[in-house]
Symmetry: C2
Subunit: 344 residues, 2 copies
């Protein structure tokens, strides 16, 4: 391996608000040498996900912040180049937390083998990976959709939202998406089979959302926050459930929105409508991961679950793609193709 050079994207400095290209740095590094029990992998696909924005900040969250000069965090699909773990062999395709780099060494137990016969291996970053499991477990455990109810999800053409709405449909509910362009809305209804999809950038968004939910909203899967959340709130039915999964519209915020402070209105709605808000991250349902992946794969094979990927070529383009993700410029699950498959 000594003649190989690793390429990495590291956190150059902490963003103030919207990340800039200069907050990232593309550097050369050595290829790691796997220790006993470890596996050396070459990245084929790097997953880009909104949670990464939080890691770039200093301060407490559910995971420790990245250090300056640390390789950016990220889930990766890779091929095993060298194995010192009895569970993996050269050539295996695996999913792990390789980060934004070409070569990475990982403990074998932190890797999941990917069956390339089941679906394209890139789906391990999306519908058959963390976003799919997030959607499945959050919707079913917290949202608890019942037949005939209405389920609303924003970023509906994205990695999580697209699965939320399709699982909601499978469970017999009315699924309403919110997305950021007419093209995305068309995809959400025509390709994914949602009952309706509303463009939040449209001037008549409030009215259109209301019309799309004639019986109100029973489950709102929250992954955006901001204006969309404020428009959803009045439409929530008594006893509605709100799995709180993310709030991408706030991730780049450098200050709080201006007043008045609307918190009392939210608390009043929680009380009067007896709403349930519950935050979660995918790890909270780790024991259900296998069941979720099996079920999602089955639905894909049965043609009941569709997905769309937005694949960007080249590790060097990851920062720009990630900046676009936070602005909704991607269309489908955002993935960076870092090297060819199979890796050489």
């Amino acid at each position: 391996m000594s003649n190989k050079i690793n390429r990495q994207i590291i956190l150059a400095k902490r963003p103030s608000g919207k990340p800039q290209p200069a907050d990232f740095s593309l550097v050369d590094a050595s290829v790691p040498v796997p220790e006993e029990g470890q596996v050396l992998c070459k990245t084929i696909f790097l997953s880009l996900d909104p949670y990464m924005r939080g890691r770039m900040n200093d301060g407490k969250s559910y995971a420790a912040p990245l250090e300056i000069k640390e390789v950016m965090t990220g889930g990766t699909v890779g091929q095993v180049l060298e194995s010192r773990s009895s569970n993996f062999h050269e050539g295996d395709i695996v999913f792990g937390s390789g980060g934004w780099q070409v070569y990475w060494a990982s403990e074998g137990k932190a890797l999941r083998k990917i069956d390339s016969q089941l679906a394209p291996i890139s789906t391990a970053t999306g519908v058959l990976g963390m976003p799919g499991v997030t959607a499945y477990t959050g919707l079913l455990n917290i949202g608890q959709p019942k037949k005939g109810e209405t389920v609303v999800v924003a970023a509906a053409s994205g990695a999580v939202g697209s699965v939320v709405g399709q699982v909601a449909k499978i469970k017999g509910t009315r699924a309403v998406g919110i997305a950021g362009s007419p093209e995305k809305c068309r995809f959400v209804t025509e390709e994914l089979g949602f009952d309706a999809c509303v463009n939040h950038k449209s001037p008549d968004f409030t009215e259109a959302l209301k019309n799309a939910c004639p019986d109100g909203i029973d489950v709102y899967f929250e992954n955006v926050g901001g204006k969309v959340f404020q428009k959803v709130l009045p439409l929530l039915n008594d006893f509605a459930r709100i799995p709180v999964c993310g709030m991408i519209s706030h991730y780049n915020a450098t200050e709080l929105p201006p007043g008045p402070n609307l918190t009392p209105l939210l608390m009043r709605d929680i009380l009067v409508k007896r709403l349930t808000f519950r935050g979660f991250i995918v790890w909270d349902f780790a024991s259900q991961e296998k069941e979720a992946l099996t079920q999602l794969a089955t639905w894909i094979q049965q043609g009941k679950l569709h997905y769309r990927e937005d694949i960007v070529e080249g590790l060097e383009n990851a920062p720009e793609a990630f900046i676009g993700l936070l602005e909704g410029r991607n269309f489908g699950k955002l993935v960076v193709q870092v090297s060819d498959h199979p890796a050489a």
Copy 2:
């Protein structure tokens, strides 16, 4: 009954902000004549509760608003004067929704017989009534306190808060109260047995609350909102549960608090700490009412559950007492003694 005059307190006009005495009117009315299946009662005790403030407003809530000139809503302990229901007899002591008046007719099925041997009959408005059941069902169903955890409740010397903290103690948790005076705090720790109680009017409230919760907060039973809520929020532990029962600090508000809008901070905490907020009203757990009342009565008889009542004499003093309730001037469950017991 024709020689008797009924006295009523009606809603004279809708309050703007804090209710004023002129928003109420004391009027004479006729004594109702019970129809078949109905019972005529004379009020002994009238319960005053924060939820009544909401009924004085126009606009949608979980119950319809009062009409102007309608008798103020309220739970009442009364004695049966005349029964046209086979389930009740003259002289029975009953609890019902008599409202702010001396005489009332009620369907028999809307009444609950009170066992005066169990506890003073006034407790049917408090620890052995709606507030007690609210505390019991909200804490156990939503708060789900576990041994060794920390439970915090505000208005801790009041009808609901006092039961929340004592049930929390019985369940093996650390119970921390918040109250509005040193006297109330002393009562909460010395008489009710909470582990600590913090005065929210004290200048060192923030620090004192933190010190009272060295292991953070696992359950916050929300009945006040406002400043107390904002100080509790940073102390909540991962996976904390927040039964949302009321927000008395906002009931008299005529406008929203000034900015910035703190909603994104609340949503971020829900997400990152995986909090559960769930609103409820006592009716939501109607099927558990009997169990709750039996258990609460048993604890009273065993000396494990204490209560304090703040009894005001005379129906004509109900408005002033109610205005004081919204400002925390009462000390214990606020009850108006409308007539002597037994009623003549």
